[in-house]
Each structure stands twice: as structure tokens, then as C-alpha cells.
Amino acid sequence: MAKIRLEKVNYTYSAGTPFETRALRDVEFEIKEGLVTGIIGHTGSGKSTMMMLLNGLEKPESGRVLLDGADIWEKPKEISKVRFRVGLVMQYPEYQLFEETVAKDIAFGPKNMGLTEDEISARVREAAGIVGLDAGLLEKSPFELSGGEKRRAAIAGIIAMKPEVLVLDEPAAGLDPAGRERILGTIQNFRAQTGATVIIVSHSMEDMAEVCDEIVVLLEGRILMSGSTREIFSRADELRRVGLDVPEITGLMLRLRDMGAEIDSIPFTVKDALPKLMKLLK
């Protein structure tokens, strides 16, 4: 079932000026409920615009954004409710930590929702648990945390609002490999514990292959392709033609096939690739 539907969505930047740019053109697709959907595309392909449209930070010029079947702009005055239901984690969200303690920072969103103190502190504990922050860290200043911990604290602040949809822009950018693993684990944890819908924008095809069920590819404001992760990464040639890529392991397996190895379906994670190769090599 579709959690979010975009219908013929158009969006133009700087309309009426010499810098007018069509960011999205007749974009139409569905985000399925309870799945992790990845959005890939170059800088300037319309990904960020799309993210802001999904939670009502931007309004489509024409077309509709439907959340659970209802147009989010039907009652413009109630758009802030949509922003609680669709939580947005921006790029490098740790730069926006500002409170004295980690706990207060995580509590900021729930406070704005007008919840009781008890409910707020329960949510802070729960969100910290999902992102794997020890209770001992909650009373520290955010600035005493490591880079990866800060990132997870910032994500916890959004999770604490219990969004039905969590949207993350480059959640692992700039983190070391272990920090990256933890962020991806956090996202999977969140989905498993809440059943919420997750949307991730990332340039890392390896990360996308690891966590996404579905992938949407944007090119110059249009949908180039969408489908299951397997379907999308099996179209490596098309992706490469437009300057995008496939995970390194997929590239390696395609190379082997081109060199004459008998590989029927192309894997996109190392875990998938291993049994296929063992069958050939044993």
C-alpha cells in the first residue's frame, strides 16, 4: 500500500527570474508503507526538492503529494501536522544540535508537539535506545560526543517525534566506516521496532544496496527508473550511462560475467555474491 503518492508533481526554482530552473517535472511515484526506499541521482537532479515536498517544507507548483491518500496541502494551515508525521533528517544534522544536554536536544521536537513531561522523557529514552546511545550520554553536552554519536543524537531528535515516515538526507556522509555501519544499523533498527516507512537519499550505492528495499532514480528532475533494489542495480549499463554507479561488488560481478564466468543473476551485496561464486569455484 502507498504511504506517500506523488501525482504529476512539478516544481520550479526562482520562477520568473533568469535563473528559473525546473527542479521536478511531472514526477509520479509511490513510496510503499513500511519499506525502506532509496532515492539516488546527481547533485541537482531534484532529490532535495523532492525531500522537502514530502514533508511540506515546499509546495508543489502543480500536482499533489498524498500522505495516506490525503493531499497534504488540502488544509495549508495544518501543514505543521504533516511535518510531525514525516520527519526530515537533514544533511550533517549534528550541526543543528544546540541544547545543553543530549536529552534536552532529543526532547526539543516532542516538546514542540505539546506532549506531557512524562511522555517526553519516555520518548527521549526510547529514541536514544533505537539509535544506540547509552543512557550515560544523555546528560552530557552534545559537544562531548564523537562525530558518529552526535549524528545519532540528531536522528534520535526526529525519531522521538514518532514520525510515520522518516526521511534522511545522506545519513552516513563524512562518517568513518564503523560510524557508517552504526547509522545504517540505526535505520534498520528504527524500521524493525516501529514499522515506519523510511526514505533515504544517498550517493553511496553500497549503503543503498545494504538497506533499501526499493530505489527511485532521479535524472534532471524526472524519474529515470524505480523498482526493487535488485531490479535497479541489474540495470548497471543504464545507470553508468547517466554517470551513476552500482555497488563495487556488482561492478566486479558484471566484470566477471563479461570475462566469461557463468553468473546468472547479479548480486549487489558481498553476502549475496559469496554463495554464487563458491558454486563456481568449489
Binding site: F19, G41, H42, T43, G44, S141, F143, E144, S146, G147, G148, E170, A173, G174, L175, D176, P177, A178, G179, R180, E181, H203, M205, E206, G243, L244, D245, P247, E248, I249, G251, L252, R255, L256, M259, G260, A261, V270, A273, L274, L277, M278, L280, L281, K282
Partner: protein, 292 residues
């Protein structure tokens, strides 16, 4: 003349933590880098990578130990301001965020900014700007506004700005972290070209192991200490060490490692996807010949 362009001896550097206490950022770093080498520096967030970069172009000063650049002691304490500026010219830096290092509103003015501050005559500046744009593949963008360029283009403009200072060494501090795959490839190709054809020494700080495999040597920092200084082949043949360090290995190397664990005796020390595919095919052919 020193055989090494950069040499450090027992280099230590401290930083002040939130409580005002001094804590070590780098401990006893001994490093030798020859002119024209291509070095990758990897390590977890907070391992001291950026501190090392800032010491090498004198943005930071060490607590103790020595830094020699082209044989000259940078830590003697009696360098003139001109000598310090000269080091910053010879050892240029490119940072992570392309939006934080562009100063002008027109591409060519941005690139001219450094040489102008050195008081270089206008015709020479023109020559340098053209050369720098040519080298990074951005001729034709002279009059463009930097903020309208893509991330990869902005980073190449930042590299061009460093090139206009005629450096001997470029340090890139996670310069590809914010770029899309195309932007990343543009920057890596540019850097490799500078290293190969202009013999510029490159020090590349990165979290991307598939970038590190392309260097001549990879340096691993952990909690301020230098743990490894190996060619990539040697380093990536120790995947367990890298995993313990929280660093991981490229997917191709991971695959080879797993296949070997399951008893497939692959030859050589392949690290790139091409080499790994080659090693697997070679094994497959030998097996077929043997079975057949």
C-alpha cells in the same frame, strides 16, 4: 637537499578538550614522504588525520617534535612570516565542504585570489589562472558564478585555486565526502593527473577505502598514533586489522578474503575490482583445465 619533501620526527600535538584540559591529538608521528608520492591517510573520526594535515601546512603548531619541509626545519621557532606563508603556498590544502572555500563571485577571480595576495603581476596571474583551469578541466568556466556549479566542479575550482599558487604538495582533507559519484570521480581523476603528470605530492585524507587502494602508500592513524605505513596491497591483505580499527575494506577485498576463508586459494594480492576479478578468473580457468 633532503631526500624527502616532508619528514616528521617524534611529532606530537595536543588539543584542549571541553574542560580546558590538554589532551594528545597526535603522538610520536614519524613520517617520510618523497616528492611526487601519492599518500592516503585513513583513520576513524577523531584519530588525528586533520590535525596532521594542519600541522603540515602550519595552520597548527606541534607541542614537540620536528617537521622538515624540503629539508628545512619548520619547528625551529625562528621562521619569519614570509617563510610561513611560503610553506602554505608550497603545501596547499583542499577541505571537505566546497561551499566553505570559495571567496569570490566569479570563478577566475576566485582562482586569482591567492596569487593576487602574493603581489604577482597581472599577466602572470592570467597565465596561472588559465593553466589551473585547463588542468582541472574547467576551461570555459572563467566567468561563471561558483555557487551555481556542481559540488565536483566547486571542488575542482578549489583545487585550481591551490594550483595557481604553484604548490609542490596538495593535501585533501576528505575533499570527496560531500560529492556525488560523478563529482567524486572528477576530483579523483584530477588529483591523479596532477600527481602523475605534474609530479605534485598528494596527501589524501579519506574514509573511502576504494580511494585509499589507489595510493602508493596508506597511513593508518588511530587515537593519534601512526599504526601502519604500508603500500595498499600489503595493508589490505590484513582485513582483520582494518576491521578492528573500525575501518573496513573495499567490497572487492572483502570478497577475496571471504573466498579464501572458505578454502579458495586465490593467487596474488588483488585490491582493485579489476585485479580481484582477474584473480578469480585465473582460478576459474585453472580449475577448468584441471577438471577438464
Amino acid at each position: 637537499m633532503d631526500e624527502y619533501f616532508i619528514r616528521t620526527e617524534h611529532l606530537c600535538c595536543n588539543y584542549r578538550d571541553e574542560n580546558g584540559r590538554e589532551a594528545p591529538a597526535l603522538i610520536d608521528i614519524n613520517l617520510k614522504i618523497k616528492k611526487g608520492e601519492y599518500i592516503a591517510v585513513i583513520g576513524r573520526n577523531g584519530s588525528g588525520k586533520s590535525t596532521l594535515a594542519k600541522l603540515l601546512n602550519m595552520i597548527l603548531l606541534p607541542a614537540s617534535g620536528k617537521i622538515y619541509i624540503d629539508g628545512k626545519d619548520m619547528t625551529s621557532g625562528n621562521l619569519s612570516d614570509d617563510e610561513i606563508l611560503d610553506i602554505r603556498r608550497r603545501v596547499g590544502m583542499v577541505f571537505q565542504n566546497p561551499d566553505n572555500q570559495i571567496v569570490a563571485t566569479i570563478v577566475e577571480e576566485d582562482i586569482a585570489f591567492g596569487p593576487e595576495n602574493l603581489g604577482i603581476p597581472t599577466p602572470e596571474i592570467r597565465r596561472r589562472v588559465d593553466y589551473a583551469l585547463e588542468t582541472v578541466g574547467m576551461r570555459g568556466y572563467e566567468k561563471h558564478e561558483p555557487h551555481r556549479l556542481s559540488g565536483g566542479q566547486k571542488q575542482r575550482i578549489a583545487i585550481a585555486g591551490v594550483l595557481a599558487m604553484q604548490p609542490e604538495c596538495i593535501i585533501l582533507d576528505e575533499a570527496t565526502a560531500m560529492l556525488d559519484p560523478r563529482g567524486r570521480a572528477e576530483v579523483i581523476n584530477t588529483i591523479e593527473l596532477l600527481n602523475r603528470e605534474r609530479k605534485i605530492t598528494v596527501i589524501m585524507i579519506t574514509h573511502h577505502m576504494n580511494e585509499a587502494v589507489r595510493a602508493d602508500r596508506v597511513i593508518v592513524l588511530s587515537d593519534g598514533r601512526l599504526l601502519r605505513d604500508y603500500p595498499p596491497r600489503q595493508l589490505f591483505s590484513e582485513p582483520d586489522f582494518l576491521r578492528r580499527q573500525g575501518l573496513g575494506v573495499p567490497q572487492s577485498v572483502e570478497l577475496i578474503d571471504e573466498l579464501r576463508r572458505q578454502g579458495i586459494a586465490l593467487e596474488g594480492e588483488p585490491v582493485t575490482p579489476e585485479e580481484c576479478a582477474g584473480a578469480i578468473m585465473k582460478y576459474l580457468k585453472q580449475k577448468k583445465a584441471h577438471d577438464g
